[in-house]
Structures are given as structure tokens and as C-alpha cells.
């Protein structure tokens, strides 16, 4: 069976399986993924967390790496956690806002 092409949708859909355990929503709909880039088997993800010092920091970053390594064609994943720009609820998708009860901001 041929490998699926690595599309943006596939990457985001895959990342939706990583849940922020405190808020109870996936990191894509929370707006934590800022950007991702793929080159020569290496997937680089730039993301943030809801608050600096978030105790889930390591677990979530490791989870992103783990799940993206399950994608065919991905041989290496680099996760860069940044605090600038800081996360704000306005970065959530409509689905994320509905799921978490966040007001329209």
C-alpha cells in the first residue's frame, strides 16, 4: 500500500491526538501549534503552551515528537517551544472554544 502524502491536514489531524490533559482539548484546536515545516524527512514544529512554567511542558512536547514520528516519511522531529508571541485564547479554533467553554475573544 503506497504511503499517504504528508499534507498539512494529515500533520494537524495527527497532532489533534495530543491532548492538553488539564484543559481537556487537543493542542491544535487550543491554538498551541504555531507552524510546522517538513524538509528531507525532518519535521520541525514550532509551538507554545498555555502558560510559561506549564508543568506539562515536557510531556506535551515529547508527545508531539512521538506522534509525528509515526507518520510515514518522517524520520526526525524537532519541537521548538516558544513564548513569543504568548498564547492567548483568541488563538483557539471555534471548535476548541466550544469544547472548552472559552468566550469569544
Amino acid at each position: 500500500m503506497p504511503a499517504k502524502p504528508l499534507t498539512d491536514e494529515l500533520v494537524l489531524e495527527t497532532l489533534r491526538q495530543v491532548i492538553d490533559p488539564e484543559i481537556g482539548c487537543n493542542i491544535v484546536d487550543l491554538g498551541l501549534i504555531y507552524r510546522h515545516a517538513f524538509r528531507a524527512g525532518k519535521l520541525t514544529v514550532t509551538m507554545t503552551l498555555t502558560t510559561p512554567g506549564c508543568p506539562m511542558h515536557d510531556s506535551i512536547a515529547e508527545g508531539v515528537k512521538n506522534i509525528l514520528l509515526t507518520l510515514e516519511g518522517v524520520t526526525d522531529v524537532e519541537v521548538e517551544v516558544v513564548w513569543d508571541p504568548p498564547w492567548h485564547p483568541s488563538m483557539m479554533t471555534e471548535v476548541g472554544r466550544a469544547m472548552t467553554g472559552v468566550q469569544n475573544v
Binding site: 498539512d8 507552524r35 524538509r39 516558544v82 513569543d84 488563538m91
Partner: protein, 469 residues
């Protein structure tokens, strides 16, 4: 090369004045490594819950303890079991976990935590036994061991604080609480030594009340105030609204407590003035919490938050009682004397107890989740924190606790023994409900619920977002 951004609804609006390109984290240390290992804080928590259950059991067996004036060896022993065994154990375990997280740094030493735990447990168990038998020499001996443990705790956290350069309000508040904790144990030791050797004379009731205020207001309330400035915005998706107001609240509390300690110890009429100063600190604190909640983005408040916010609201009746009781011309009747016990009950069981239960609903699931699931994230389907316990039980525990507290306060005011037994019974029931939920959470420690992911498809859907907890 494939380059992608999020869907439009989630596109980042760059902060004005900040560069558009993302900057790597300034704190590359992994936060999960910052806090103490999971087992140690859990040991403190379990010790605390056991002490709470024993305290409740004794209250049920001997309701007359609260029906009479509170200066009796058995009630002092039970107060120390509740304060040192329950509150201190949990506050210390929580601080080892929360201080590194709130200040974004690493704990200074985990080895010290182990020694402190041993000194703390042996110290408080021995002190409770010695108070029960009113053996003040043994109170001093076990109290010295407890003080050694407190010294290790204070040193460990002070060295952790020292690593943080900026003086944010949270650092100021935690440093204040550590100072008052040291002052409380030193004052306690001086009181005990003075009782054994009579080298200095204080009016014993006044000295006991001054010592109690140092501990409850200086340590526990200060910790609640400080930590909530970080945790309430974190859990409600809000922000601190006025750093200046937060600073003032902590500073005014410190000033008021210093004056109140001296005034209570010397039985000065200035007690009322300093009670007013402390009340001003609480008003500033309350205004800031209201502002944080008004600015929150998360409309739904979970029950853990409701526990903590209800505890904070108890500052209102407590402040009123404090002002009434510190009025020098208050007539001394059986009821006004009992109001002192109600004041202690509302402060310890109500404010501190309820705040701790709310905090535990955040901390314990995280500790267990981290131990059982953090290595599975991204590899398998794992529960969110709110899936680890029963919200129905949490709600039942909340209302049972409030009903018990109200009944106990009324019955204590009128020295009504069967009312005290009923109120105490409801509180114990609430704690038992909490223990049941704790068991549910700890079950994940023994048998984690890890399920394989559903097979991936090539179409982006949102069906993987779990229901709102």
C-alpha cells in the same frame, strides 16, 4: 519543502511591538523536571489525608471537645494533628510541587525533602501524643525535631526562591510565608520552653492565640493568597489584572500580621486596628480575584475552582468575626467565648481546609497523571485530568462539606454536643467522599488506562477533540 500555518480561526495575531518571528524559549529547562519527584509530594498528601480522617474520627468520638472552651490539652492535641498533620503536610507537599512551577525554576534539593518528611512525620505525631498527655517536655523534644524539618523546608524553598532574579508578587508572598513559618515554629518552641522552665511569662491564652495567628494567617492564608495569584488565572484562562494591587495586598497583610501578633500577645486594644489592617489586605486581595475572574476567558469554572473560590469567600465572615472578637470591650459571655472556637473552625476547617481540598483536586490528578501517562502522550489514548475522578462525587463532597461546616459552626456557638456530632459527621462524610475520589485517582497509579489510538485517516476532522470535562 512543506510550510504550513494553522486554519484561519487559529492564526496568530502578533503582539504589537514584538518581533513577528518566534523566539526560542528563554527557559529551556523542562518544567516537569522542575518540581520534586512525584512520589515525595504524594507521600505528604497521603499523610495529610490520613491525619484529616483521624482528626474527623476523634471529633465524632469526642464532640465535647468543641462544646467547651478551646484551652484543653486534648483539643490542643487535635488542633496540632489537624494543623501539622493535615494542613502542613499537604501545604509542604504542594509547595515542593507548586513553587518551582509558579516561579519557573527548579527545586534546590530533593534529598532535603526526604529528610524533612521523616522529621515532619515523627515530629508532629510525637507532638500530638505529647499534647494529648500534656507532657510539655516531650512537646519540646518532638517540637525541636519538627522545627528541624521546618528549617530544611524553609532552606530548600529559600534557595529555590534565590534562583529567581525578579521580585514578582508570587516570590514576595512565598518569601513572606516562609518567614512567618519560621516565626511560628520559633514562637511555639519559646512558648513550650517558657512553660517548662518559667523563664519568661506571657498570658498563656494570649500567647497561644498570637502563635496561632502567625501560623494560620502568616503561613496558610499567605500561601493561599500568593498561589492563587498564579493558579486562578492559570485555570480560568485569565491574567493578573493589577500587579500593584497584588503587591499591596501582600504587603498590607504582612504589616497587619506583624502588628496583630504583638497586639494579641500583649493583649493590647490595638488588636482591632491591626485586624482592620489585615482586613484591608483581604479586601485588596478580593478585589484582585474578582477582577481576574471578570477577565477570564473560560466561562465554566470546574468544581476544584469552586472549592477554592468558596474558601476564599469565607474570608468575609472570618474578617467580620476577627473584628468583633478583637474589640476590647466585647462582653465575655459563654457565646462570645465560643465564637473564638467558631473563628478557629471557620479559619482552619473552612478557609484552609476547603482551599486545600480544591487544590488537591488539581495537584493529585496531575501527580498521578504525570507518573502514569506522561510517557504515553502522543503514543496512545490517555485520559485527561478531569477523567480521573468522579465529578458527581466532587459535587456531593462540596455540598456535604458546606452543610457540615455550617452545622458545626452553629452547634459550636451554642455548645450543642449532638449538633457538633452531626456537623462533624457531615464533614467526615465529605472527607470520606474525597478519599473515595482520591482512591479513583490513585487507581490510575496502579492500573493506567492506556488505549491505542484510532486509525488515522487522511481527512482533517475535529472528532478527536474530547467532550468538555
Amino acid at each position: 519543502m512543506m510550510e504550513a500555518l494553522l486554519p484561519k480561526s487559529a492564526v496568530i495575531e502578533p503582539t504589537p511591538g514584538l518581533p513577528k518571528t518566534a523566539r526560542p524559549s528563554a527557559t529551556p529547562n523542562l518544567a516537569v523536571m522542575q518540581a520534586a519527584a512525584v512520589r515525595l509530594p504524594l507521600c505528604f498528601v497521603l499523610t495529610g489525608v490520613m491525619a484529616l480522617l483521624i482528626s474527623g474520627g476523634v471529633l465524632l468520638a469526642q464532640p465535647d471537645l468543641l462544646a467547651m472552651y478551646h484551652y484543653t490539652p486534648h483539643l490542643i492535641a487535635m488542633t496540632h494533628l489537624f494543623v501539622l498533620g493535615f494542613i502542613c503536610s499537604i501545604v509542604m507537599g504542594a509547595m515542593y510541587q507548586l513553587v518551582p512551577v509558579t516561579l519557573e525554576t527548579q527545586l534546590f534539593s530533593e534529598k532535603l525533602v526526604k529528610f524533612q518528611f521523616a522529621a515532619h512525620v515523627i515530629g508532629f505525631v510525637g507532638m500530638v501524643w505529647a499534647f494529648w498527655n500534656f507532657n510539655m517536655a516531650m512537646v519540646g523534644a518532638f517540637g525541636s525535631l519538627l522545627t528541624l524539618g521546618v528549617g530544611l523546608f524553609v532552606c530548600n524553598l529559600a534557595c529555590t526562591l534565590a534562583k529567581v532574579k525578579s521580585w514578582k508578587v508570587i516570590k514576595f508572598g512565598i518569601a513572606s510565608a516562609l518567614f512567618w513559618l519560621s516565626a511560628t515554629v520559633v514562637a511555639g518552641l519559646i512558648l513550650t520552653t517558657a512553660k517548662c522552665w518559667n523563664f519568661i511569662s506571657f498570658q498563656p491564652l494570649a500567647a497561644m492565640h498570637a502563635h496561632a495567628h502567625l501560623g494560620v494567617v502568616g503561613v496558610f492564608v499567605m500561601m493561599i493568597v500568593t498561589v492563587s495569584y498564579k493558579l486562578v488565572p492559570m485555570f480560568t484562562l485569565s491574567e493578573l489584572q493589577s500587579e500593584r494591587r497584588a503587591w499591596w495586598s501582600v504587603a498590607v497583610l504582612n504589616l497587619g500580621l506583624l502588628g496583630a501578633f504583638v497586639a494579641v500577645l500583649l493583649q493590647s486594644p490595638l488588636k482591632l486596628v491591626f485586624a482592620l489592617v489585615i482586613t484591608v489586605g483581604f479586601v485588596l486581595y478580593g478585589l484582585e480575584i474578582i477582577a481576574i475572574l471578570r477577565a477570564r476567558n473560560r466561562r465554566h469554572l470546574d468544581w476544584g475552582m469552586k472549592y477554592s473560590l468558596t474558601a476564599i469567600a469565607l474570608l468575609i465572615p472570618l474578617s467580620i468575626l476577627a473584628l468583633v472578637l478583637s474589640w476590647s470591650w466585647l462582653p465575655m459571655t459563654a457565646v462570645t467565648m465560643q465564637l473564638e472556637s467558631v473563628y478557629g473552625l471557620l479559619g482552619l476547617f473552612g478557609l484552609v481546609g476547603l482551599a486545600i481540598l480544591g487544590m488537591l483536586y488539581k495537584i493529585v490528578p496531575f501527580l498521578v497523571w504525570f507518573h502514569s501517562y506522561s510517557r504515553h502522550i502522543g503514543l496512545a489514548k490517555i485520559p485527561a485530568l478531569a477523567d480521573m475522578y468522579s465529578v458527581r462525587l466532587q459535587i456531593a463532597g462540596y455540598w456535604t462539606f458546606l452543610a457540615g461546616l455550617a452545622a458545626l459552626s452553629l452547634a459550636t456557638t451554642w455548645s450543642h454536643e449532638s449538633g457538633i456530632r452531626w456537623g462533624g459527621g457531615l464533614l467526615v462524610l465529605s472527607v470520606a467522599i474525597f478519599a473515595l475520589n482520591l482512591g479513583k485517582i490513585l487507581a490510575h497509579f496502579v492500573r493506567p488506562k492506556v488505549e491505542p489510538f484510532a486509525k488515522k485517516t487522511n481527512s482533517a476532522t475535529n472528532t478527536l477533540c474530547p467532550p468538555n470535562p
